[in-house]
């Protein structure tokens, strides 16, 4: 039994955004793997719920005419990782969400919740950043699109205004075509854990040189981040061990890991450096490239 005080099962997107607009304390509940845990702890902020579980339209995964791959905010991690469109066009998203919790949690947890709760450790965040995913959001004033780049505003905070409802993610073709991408979750356990550091790389290679690198981390700064300096250092460089070493050094300028009881700043920085080379190497394999 949860200490829920108000509960509304939304019947449509319009009904949901209306209900959200009407109650300034209302929160969206999707898969429940986050909100119900907060309620179990007795949290005061999650007691008025707008439940979107009836909105089957938000559960779809589809491809648009321009090739964009779309993932409904309510699609479960399992549905995402098992979906042929994800596996074919944006496999790193599938790989990333496959590292969330365990099977039961993945059967309920959603990428919508994973991004919207603003968790610094969100497993889908690195992959979303590498693919520069668009977020299609609705509120009573209508629909708008925001990029995931800049969407995270701080620990547990994102650029959603009260009354906003994320409907789906869109990954445009220019953000996945010809890109090799990989994700590695560094955690204490191999399942049922949160990342100590998460790292994803998206890589374009032309004639043995890195034409573009997209490098993203979780738990390395107050929000999930992309690494501008490291990406710049990689541009045009040959895909070899020296370059990877340089990237691993340069990434220190992009990140701001902190010491917590889970891990020290020094240890996190070591993992950040180690993962840069490892994950870029894996990304290269995905497009048949090897580190010289």
């Amino acid at each position: 039994m949860f200490p829920i005080e108000k509960y509304h099962m939304a019947e449509s997107v319009q009904d949901a955004v209306r209900a959200l607009a009407e109650d300034e304390n209302a929160r969206v509940i999707a898969g429940g793997t986050d909100v119900l845990i907060r309620l179990h702890e007795g949290h005061k902020d999650y007691r008025n719920l707008v439940d979107i579980n009836s909105l089957d339209a938000l559960r779809r995964i589809w491809q648009e005419d321009d090739g964009s791959v779309c993932i409904g905010a309510l699609a479960s991690f399992t549905e995402i990782m098992d979906h042929p469109l994800v596996q074919k066009f944006v496999p790193v998203i599938g790989e990333a969400v496959a590292t969330v919790g365990g099977p039961q949690v993945r059967n309920r947890g959603t990428m919508g919740g994973n991004i919207c709760n603003g968790a610094v450790s969100a497993d889908s965040a690195c992959a979303a950043l590498v693919h520069e995913v668009d977020l299609v959001i609705e509120n009573v004033d209508g629909e708008r699109t925001e990029s995931v780049i800049g969407f995270h505003a701080g620990p547990g905070r994102v650029n959603l205004k009260h009354g906003d409802l994320l409907k789906y993610f869109r990954i445009r073709p220019e953000n996945y075509l010809n890109m090799g991408a990989a994700y590695y979750k560094y955690a204490m356990r191999e399942a049922m854990d949160i990342a100590t550091i998460g790292c994803a790389a998206g890589l374009h290679v032309t004639d043995g040189a890195i034409s573009e690198l997209r490098l993203a981390y979780t738990v390395s700064a107050p929000t999930p981040i992309r690494c501008a300096e490291a990406e710049l250092a990689a541009k045009g460089q040959p895909l070899n061990k020296t370059t990877l070493g340089n990237i691993a050094q340069t990434v220190e300028q992009d990140v701001k890991p902190r010491t917590s009881w889970r891990a020290t700043k020094e240890f996190r920085m070591h993992v950040i450096r180690t993962l840069a080379a490892k994950v870029i190497t894996n990304a290269a394999w995905k497009i048949g490239e090897k580190i010289a």
Binding site: M188, R189, E190, F267, H270, V271, T274
Partner: protein, 760 residues
């Protein structure tokens, strides 16, 4: 014969079908629910408590604070009562406390119509504190300026023994000496069923407590002591229990539910801890600092081991000092031809209270001992396995502490078997001179343990057998089935001794102190060893009764009769069936002139204690830059005497190994040293291994025959957890040259060590 085979365990079907009923699966009409108000600081006294808001909430029946409970200090450790006044447990608990001693201490309790209502009201109780300085470890708790956590100061007890000769002579005369400091963490049992109990009254005097406990008869006594009421007025019922591992060898919730029902007109009241509460507010394993020395000659003779243990019991004594003393004493069987010095100091601190946990101090002591043994073996340049084989116990060695002979010892054979299983010699050659970021290593460690608590505590066990009308037998024992399979083992023993088949023995799995024979419960890996003689004696008595009754029925001499395969037969001609047991039973019950119910009811005290032995071999890979360990192979090889049920025995070994891998690589209950707040009181942040974190587990037995045991058997429940930790540490040392002298050897700890060693 069924002993030595693996029949389907008695409770397997009940458990896979969900029919097995645990405490929470019983409800009563009108059941109330209780929830604690816990301190939000680690040390201080309550300056103000306001329960008015809570009292006015919907569904709230009552709120009790520390002002409302009896002023009777009581001890919670699940030890047998001691007649020796110098050997009683420390009584340092009240039901609720004004002086809070750890983050989560109990200052008040709410009773309401639902668990949610109780929880919500508990959150509404306002508590203010005068804060006191917080001590979380030995350095702070033993400092001169440390605040007194309890009235008699922060040291519970210290003690020392030296056995086998003079320590200084042995050390000074040795060719090589090493010393080191080793650390073991606070870990938590994490049994899947949290602590839960409920109570109600039968009349004005008699309280019934239904609870998930390992020790129903001890629990009855402690509830009586805590509430200052006659022990016989308390009835404790133990249904199926979802794991204990020692944490339910302590009396945690039962005195409170008993108190609440007495204050609420005997109404049924349930108290169920959340996982978060269970992690911090039941018991944990004591963390320890072990200052060790080992001395050896160049020929590999171990001359002396010296272990000084500092043990942190946290906010309350619970099993406090008996943990290190048991851990030290049980290790004396391992290297009995060396001089052994063991000293221990146990202190309070402002962290969650530690108590009994699987192997009761031995994992701590043996971690220090087997790390030090590895270090001295390396110093004299001797192979780790050869060194141990040279020094471990042989049959009829004398335990230098107890001066008793070791009547069965298979540890040499265990080491030899393990060496072959892991292909030690071949891999040693293959793994020599490795470079690069990923390296393999081999490790070994040994242990010895006891089978029960004698002579420190009484060992009393009871067994009652009743011949049913259909010729089957009902068995009642006071010993508790907590998942380890004791009911099954006892049924096997009774079946064999009685001459009936295993399926004809029905075991009453519930203990009810008003009904069950007396036994102190599941701990110290005692049950198969100390209950077996009671079972055997009861089975022999029942058999005698049956045969005497058959003599009355048939006129045949008792000596000429036997029971084989559920039939009374001619002793010299087992094919010649005289009567089936069913025929005998129905006659005994219903013949109008003769007979009666055929039963046996035995209480037995065991006055021996057999040492068990074993070792762990591990082959692992260290990824230095990733600071991660991957175990390729791990084997535990045990001398637990004769194995009663090989499949269940293997299950005990696997379970202990899994828990040990957790303690070695992942688990640690963390507190903030500045304020004593517990940082990881849940199963996300406290890392017990999942399916993908445990390697395939290998297990093997060397079956010795223990002459003091009823069926040749020795302890097995706890021992498997003891040696994997040091074996893993020794393998990491083998792979990298880096001695990681603390558990858990988690990535962040490995990072520090590898960094300091210049590997990173």
């Amino acid at each position: 014969m069924t002993v030595g085979t693996s029949p389907i365990r008695k409770d397997a079907v009940a458990k896979v079908t969900g029919k097995a009923r645990y405490t929470d699966d019983f409800t009563m009409p009108g059941m109330l629910h209780a929830a604690y108000v816990r301190s939000t600081i680690a040390h201080g006294t309550v300056s103000r408590i306001d329960t008015s808001a809570a009292r006015s909430m919907d569904g709230v029946e009552a709120v009790f604070t520390f002002e409302d409970v009896p002023d009777t200090l009581f001890a919670t450790a699940g030890h047998p009562h001691s007649l020796d006044p110098d050997h009683v447990d420390v009584a340092d608990r009240l039901l609720l406390t004004k002086h809070v001693r750890y983050h989560g201490d109990e200052v008040a309790i709410v009773v309401a119509s639902s668990k949610l209502a109780a929880k919500e009201a508990a959150r509404a109780v306002v508590v203010e504190y005068d804060e006191l300085p917080v001590c979380v470890d030995a350095a702070s708790a033993l400092a001169d300026e440390a605040p007194s956590i309890h009235a008699d100061g922060n040291v519970i007890k210290s003690h020392e023994f030296i056995a086998g000769g003079d320590l200084n002579t042995a050390v000074d005369g040795a060719d090589a000496v090493i010393s080191g400091q080793y650390h073991t963490p606070v870990v938590q049992h994490c049994h899947m069923e949290n602590h839960i109990a409920y109570a109600y009254m039968d009349d004005f005097e008699h309280i019934v407590v239904v609870t998930s406990t390992q020790i129903p008869h001890i629990c009855r006594r402690v509830v009586g002591q805590a509430l200052d009421m006659p022990w016989g007025n308390v009835r404790v019922i133990k249904p199926y229990i979802g794991g204990g591992f020692g944490n339910k060898q302590d009396v945690v919730l039962e005195p409170m539910v008993a108190f609440l029902t007495t204050r609420l007109d005997g109404r049924p009241i349930k108290l169920e801890l959340d996982r978060e509460e269970c992690m911090t507010s039941t018991r944990t394993r004591h963390s320890a600092i072990l200052d060790c020395r080992a001395a050896a000659d160049e020929d590999g003779t171990l001359k002396a081991v010296d272990v000084a243990m500092t043990s942190n019991t946290g906010a309350y004594a619970s099993h406090g000092h008996s943990i290190p003393s048991a851990g030290g004493a049980k290790s004396c069987n391992l290297y009995p031809r060396s001089v052994i010095r063991f000293s221990a100091l146990t202190h309070y601190s402002n962290i969650p209270a530690a108590g009994a946990m699987r192997a009761y101090g031995s994992p701590q002591v043996i971690f220090g001992l087997e790390c030090a043994l590895e270090d001295i073996a390396r110093k004299i340049g001797m192979d780790s396995v050869d060194f141990r084989i040279k020094n471990v116990a042989r049959k009829m060695d004398i335990n230098p502490l107890s001066n008793k002979p070791i009547r069965s010892a298979g540890i040499v054979e265990c080491l030899e078997k393990g060496r072959e299983l892991i292909q030690w010699d071949e891999k040693k050659r293959r793994f020599a001179n490795q470079e690069g970021p990923v390296r393999r290593g081999l490790g070994v460690a040994c242990f010895s343990y006891g089978s029960g608590t004698y002579p420190v505590c009484v060992e009393i066990a009871g067994c009652r057998l009743i011949l049913n009308q259909d010729g089957s037998v009902h068995m009642q024992v006071g010993a508790t089935e907590i998942g380890q399979g004791s009911d099954t083992a006892f049924a096997q023993m009774a079946a064999d001794t009685l001459g009936i088949s295993y399926d004809k023995v029905h075991v009453v799995t519930t203990q009810d102190t008003d009904v069950s024979p007396f036994d102190t419960g599941a701990y110290a890996s005692r049950q198969t060893y100390v209950v077996a003689p009671a079972v055997k004696k009861a089975a022999l008595e029942l058999k005698t009764s049956v045969l005497e009754y058959v003599r009355e029925m048939t006129g045949k001499e008792t000596a000429s009769l036997d029971i084989v395969d559920n039939n009374v037969v001619a002793a010299n001609q087992p094919d010649c069936v005289i009567a089936s047991l069913a025929d005998v039973a129905i006659d005994a019950y219903y013949h109008k002139q003769r007979g009666g119910q055929l039963t046996a009811d035995v209480s037995h005290k065991t006055r021996t204690n057999a040492p068990s032995f074993g070792c762990t071999f591990v082959d692992l890979e260290v990824d230095v830059p990733m600071c991660k360990i991957h175990i390729h192979q791990i084997f535990n090889v045990h001398d637990a005497g004769q194995i009663i049920h090989p499949l269940l025995a293997e299950g005990q070994v696997h379970g202990g190994m899994g828990m040990a891998v957790g303690m070695a690589l992942f688990e640690e209950l963390l507190v903030n040293p500045d304020n004593g707040r517990v940082l990881n009181n849940n199963l996300l942040d406290y890392k017990i291994p999942t399916f993908v974190d445990i390697p395939d587990l290998g297990c093997s037995f060397v079956e010795t025959m223990e002459p003091t045991a009823a069926y040749g058997n020795k302890s097995l429940g706890e021992p498997p957890i003891i040696s994997p930790g040091p074996a893993i540490r020794n393998a990491i040392l083998d792979a990298t040259g880096v001695a990681v002298n603390r558990m858990p050897m988690s990535p962040k700890v490995l990072f520090t060590h590898f960094h300091d060693a210049g590997l990173l």
